[in-house]
């Protein structure tokens, strides 16, 4: 079974983001890290690989216009077997659909039984790319998976809902998205870290894949988030919880 996990490298969330004044897209520094939400997808993939055994492989697929590999190495250190990087200057500032087209081309060329992606990236937050990708690949898409099981040529997931979960299954090949927090991503161990630099990383361009990136999404303007209002401090003299419950009811969250 060939499992592909789509991963994204993003600017380190610990440092403030800067926007490119020309495009309003997030400026990409040379050093980028693995999107934390992708660690869940990698973990789910690795657990499936371990369950299936020797016949299963895990390939990372990433559109990584800056050419940085730090985040990819992290996922390789966790245990992925290899990586395919689409590194092409023309992809700077690519929108979600362009990303999906590029990843689809790479996945079709390499072949796959199951594609795993995060629900949304931490830097872009569009949240539409995985479904676009499934459509372009012409495979069923199972979203918000919190538990994943393989049953012969089917994949079954528990799909997180507001009230609980649905059990959904699809025949392979398929695509699934995992939400953050569904599994405990493993720490890359030191042997994995030492081996990561020896694992194969194939780099491709748009021309190699026969795709021509045309970004149609234009960000017209960007407004900063209004400054947060000061909070209200509830004095607790034994019945503070009642006041908090009243506030929550007022805000209609309970």
């Amino acid at each position: 079974m060939k499992i592909a996990v789509c991963v994204k490298q993003i600017p380190d969330p610990a440092t403030p983001y800067e926007l490119d004044p020309g495009t309003n897209f997030v400026a990409r520094p040379d050093d980028q890290v693995l999107d934390d939400t992708d660690r869940y997808g990698v973990e789910v993939g690795l657990q499936l690989v371990e369950e299936i055994g020797e016949d299963a492989t895990l390939t990372l697929v990433s559109m990584s216009p800056s050419g940085t590999l730090q985040g990819i190495r992290q996922a390789l250190a966790m245990g992925a077997d290899r990586a395919i990087i689409i590194d092409d200057g023309s992809l700077r500032g690519a929108d979600a659909l362009t990303t999906a087209k590029v990843l689809a081309a790479a996945l079709k060329e390499d072949g796959f039984d199951l594609v795993i992606a995060g629900t949304e990236s931490t830097d872009g937050y569009a949240g539409v790319m995985p479904q676009q990708l499934a459509e372009l690949l012409d495979v069923p898409s199972l979203s918000f998976a919190r538990k994943v099981e393989r049953d012969g040529d089917k994949i079954r997931v528990e799909r997180q809902t507001q009230a609980g979960y649905n059990v959904v299954e699809a025949s392979l090949p398929a695509l699934l998205t995992v939400t953050s927090g569904v599994v405990e991503p493993r720490y890359p161990n030191f042997k994995g870290i030492m081996q990561a630099k020896k694992k194969p990383v194939e780099t491709k361009t748009c021309a190699d894949l026969g795709v021509e990136p045309v970004s149609q999404q234009i960000i017209q303007s960007v407004e900063p988030i209004p400054a947060r209002q000061a909070g209200e401090i509830v004095e607790d003299e034994g019945e503070g919880y009642l006041k908090i419950v009243a506030k929550l009811e007022e805000a209609k969250v309970i």
Partner: protein, 395 residues
Amino acid sequence: MSKGAVGPRKPNPRDFLNVDALLDGEDRLLRDTVREWVGDRVLPDVADWFEEGYFPRELAREMGDLGLLGMHLDGYGCAGTSAVQYGLACTELEAGDSGARSFVSVQGSLSMFPIWAFGSEEQKQQWLPGMAAGDLIGCFGLTEADSGSDPSSMKTHAKRDGSDWVLNGSKMWITNGGVSDVAIVWAQTEEGVRGFIVPRDTEGFDTNDIHKKVSLRASVTSELVLNDVRLPADAMLPNVVGLKGPLACLNEARFGILFGAVGAARACYEAALDYSKERQQFGKPIASFQLTQRKLVDMMVAVNRGMLVALHIGRMKDEGKAGVEDISFGKMDNVRMALDVAREARSVLGANGITLEYPVIRHMNNLESVFTYEGTNEVHTLIMGQAITGIAAFS
């Protein structure tokens, strides 16, 4: 898209000199992994462990899974990292607690290293994979109650009886002693000091934990008692005779400490920095006061300088060029620095600084042990004194 503004950078308060830029991606990934593990598994509970005088044994296996144990050794289940990477891991562990770093130092540098460097192939096969995995815990018996800086005065001895060895004596201040599965014990023989691998369940071998410690409380410290301990000939480490054996192990462990101490100092400085920006007195954060800024800057400069020293010595070690005197430089000065920073940070935290709610006094008390163990501050000073004068102040 632009790659960000070009021009003078703004210093990061937590990495003022951007030492990060001196590390490669693999170094940083390994460092970040240990930092995250310490944040997940050590920091949430270490104040309780310290208060209760407890080291959770299950951490050993987690450390083994990560690859922390014997990480700088090659083969036999060890990760085979660089010396700098071993050092960076020690920095992160000790930013959690000196007890966690001590565990890793004792396991990797003092227990596994002698087997790896001086053991027979059979000994390596028998012990190292289990120790690297954290299934087996080791300890290192050199110091005795009356034999500290002068190990040549040790009284523990091993005598031949046929092909067997019979060991008698006791060892003191032994980290991990009480939780160990195997002890590396150094004893006088007719040929000089030799190392022995003593399995925990050997008859006549016993341990007594040292209680009422006020330092390194999240770490087990014990006495080892050897009462007619009979060992087969193949329990002896065949490839070293004399004190150079244990001293080589100590040199490895001291190397970890010169990085580790920077971690403890960094944790204290960061705790003081955060606290000073939140704590209000006279209507403003205490970070507004000149005396506090002086303390914060002194601490920040000390931590950055200590890290640069550590990295420089680490790079020399990776090139095979670091001498005993270089390790002494780092161990002596970085631990002294860390202790100074911890005390300064404690003063910034005021009364809160004496509680375990903040990490500072825990580090401060731990560092009193680190100041003394693995070659006292004084001995390292005299090693360097001899190096620059050519005159040995002790012999």
